[in-house]
Chain length 320, copies 2
C-alpha cells in the first residue's frame, strides 16, 4: 500500500488516509484511567498509552506514515535517519515490516541497549561523533552511498500526519474531553495532536507541556518567533530538541497554550504514574501530568486527554 | 449483598457465586501479550494483569470474598488482619467499600509507604514487634477488643474462592490454553487457580512456580507432607509464607507440577516484563515467567496463561 506524500499541512482527509494506511503497522493503544491520580488532580484524566506502542513509543506512527509515502523504487533503496532514540527504532522497524533496508546513524556514545534494540530490527548502524554536525554529515554520506531516503524525526508533514493519529484515536476512545495535552520536543507529536483535535473535536482545547529547562517552544509560541534552547539539561530526553519550522507553524496557529514545568515536577509526576498506574513511562511522558498537577486553577474539574509518549527507560538509571 | 460462608472446598457453583458477588468490588483486569517475550519463550503467553487490580494485587479478590460472607452483625464490627503487605491493603479497602472499620496489625518495621497506603484506606493500624508471635498476639487482642473478624490471608476457603476468580477470568479471556501457571506462597492463589482450572477448563494443566530459596510447596508437594521454609531469603516478598493445611490439601490434589527457580531467574524475568511489556510487576509476579524460560522443554510451543500477581514495589529499591 502507498499513500500520497504531503507537501502541505495535512487536512482531515489526509489524517484519515494516514490512519487507515498505517493501521497494520501500529497498535491501537489503550486509554487508561486512575481513580487515585484523578483524586490528586481533581480532574478526570484519560491517558493514551503510547508506551504500549510498537518500539515502545508513538514514533512508530510517524515513521511508518513517512515510509508508506515513498514510491516502490525509493522504498527499495531503504530508509535512513540519525537518532539515538525512539525514532531510530521506529525507522528500523518500519523498514523491517516493509521488507526494505534501514540505515541508522547513531552517536558512538549511544547506550548499548538502544544500539542492540536497533540492531535487533535488522538495521545497518553507522556510528559517528556525538554532535549534530557529525550526525548530519555521516547521514549525508550514508544516503549518498545507498540511495536510502532520510526520514526526519519531526519536521516533515508526512511524519506529523502519522503522529496525529495518536490524538485521533484518543478522541475516538475517550468522549467528551475538555482538552488534550501533549508534550513538546521537536513538535511532531504536538502539531499532529493539534491538527487531529481541531479537525475531529473542534471545541476541545489543545495544550502543550514542556520542561522549563528546554522551553524553546514556550518562548517561540509566546514571542511568535522561533527560539533555541540554550541547554539540554532535562531528564525528559525526548524533549531536548528545538521545534522545526513546519511544526512551529502548526503549533503557533493551533495550540491554545504551552505550560512549562520544573524537573522536580516531572520526576514526581513520573513516579505517580509508575506507582498508581503500574505502567512504565519515560520522563517525557510525565510532562503533561506535571503541568496538570502544577496548574489546578486551569485544569480542575475537567476531562483531559493526556498523551503518554513512550516507555523506553534505562532501568539502571531511574530518578527515584 | 451477602454470600454463604464456605466450610468446604469451593465447588464450581461456589466460584461462580463468589465471582458475581465480588464483581462490584474488583476490577476485571486485562490479559496482555508480548510478541517479544513470546519470541524469547518460544511459546504464546497470556498474562493476567492483577498488578492493575485494586490495591495493586490479586489479594483484593480474596479479602472481598471473605468480607461478603460475614453477617451484617459480624461485618459491622469490622475486619481485622495482620500483614505488612498487599493483604493488609486488601482488607482495608474491602472494609472501606463496605462501610465498616478495618483493624490492621503491622510490624513496626513496615515500610512507610505501605503504612501510608493502609492508612489511606481509613484503616486503624496497631503496630507490633516484627515476629509472628507478636503479630498473632496483637491481633488476638485487637479482635477481643473490637469484635472484628479476622480475615486470614490464605488458609481460608472463603479467601481461596476469591483468589480463584483471577484464573476464572483468565480462562474466559484467553481461549485454548494448554496450561495455567501461578506463583505459590501461602497457596491461596495457587489453590484457587487449580480449582478454577479444573472446573472451568478440565483439560488444561495447572502448574505452580516457586522461588528455590523458599521451596516449601515444592517439597510438600513432592513428599506429600507439609514442609516448612528454612529461610525467607528471596526477593519475591509475596512468596515467603508457608502453605496452610487447606491450601496444601487442594494443591496436592489438583496441581500437576511445581517448578522452582533461582533468584537470578526471577530478577531476569521481572526485568523482561518491565522492559518489553512496559508494566510494573512485583518480583513474585515474575516467578512463573522465570519457570517458563528455565524449562523450554516443558513449555515450548504451548499457549500458557500466566498470573501476574501484583505491582506493588518500592521504586527506591529495585534489583536492576
Amino acid at each position: 500500500m502507498r499513500i500520497q506524500p504531503l507537501s502541505h499541512i495535512p487536512d482531515a482527509d489526509d489524517l484519515r488516509a494516514t490512519h487507515e494506511a498505517i493501521a497494520p503497522l501500529i497498535h491501537r493503544t489503550p486509554v487508561l484511567s486512575s481513580r487515585s491520580i484523578d483524586g490528586i488532580a481533581g480532574a478526570s484524566l484519560f491517558f493514551k498509552c503510547e508506551n504500549f506502542q510498537k518500539i515502545g513509543a508513538f514514533k512508530m506512527r510517524g515513521a511508518s506514515s513517512a515510509a508508506l509515502r515513498l514510491t516502490e523504487a525509493e522504498r527499495s533503496n531503504g530508509l535512513a535517519t540519525h537518532s539515538s532514540g525512539n525514532h531510530a527504532q521506529a525507522v528500523a522497524l518500519s523498514a523491517k515490516l516493509l521488507g526494505v533496508p534501514a540505515y541508522i546513524v547513531m552517536p558512538e556514545t549511544s547506550p548499548a541497549i538502544k544500539i542492540a534494540a536497533t540492531e535487533g530490527y535488522g538495521a545497518h548502524i553507522t556510528f559517528c561523533a556525538n554532535n549534530q554536525k557529525a550526525r548530519e554529515e555521516t547521514l549525508e554520506k550514508v544516503v549518498a552511498e545507498t540511495g536510502a531516503t532520510f526520514i526526519h524525526p519531526y519536521n516533515d508533514y508526512n511524519v506529523i500526519a502519522g503522529q496525529a493519529t495518536a490524538a485521533k484515536e484518543l478522541l475516538e476512545q475517550a468522549e467528551g474531553l475538555d482538552a488534550v495535552i501533549a508534550p513538546v520536543g521537536g513538535g511532531g507529536l504536538m502539531s499532529g495532536t493539534a491538527l487531529s483535535t481541531r479537525y475531529f473535536a473542534p471545541g476541545v482545547k489543545v495544550y502543550g507541556a514542556e520542561p522549563r529547562e528546554v522551553d524553546d517552544a514556550y518562548r517561540s509560541f509566546t514571542s511568535g518567533r522561533m527560539q533555541q534552547n540554550a541547554s539540554i539539561n532535562t531528564i525528559a530526553d525526548g524533549l531536548r530538541t528545538n521545534l522545526g519550522e513546519k511544526t512551529f507553524g502548526i503549533i503557533r496557529q493551533e495550540v491554545d497554550a504551552i505550560f512549562t514545568v520544573s524537573e522536580a515536577s516531572i520526576v514526581d509526576a513520573m513516579q505517580l504514574i509508575w506507582e498508581r498506574m503500574k505502567i512504565i513511562v519515560e520522563p517525557s511522558s510525565a510532562v503533561p501530568l506535571a503541568a496538570i498537577l502544577d496548574n489546578p486553577a486551569v485544569f480542575a474539574g475537567q476531562r483531559l486527554g493526556v498523551i503518554l509518549t513512550g516507555g523506553n527507560v534505562d532501568l539502571g538509571k531511574l530518578p527515584f
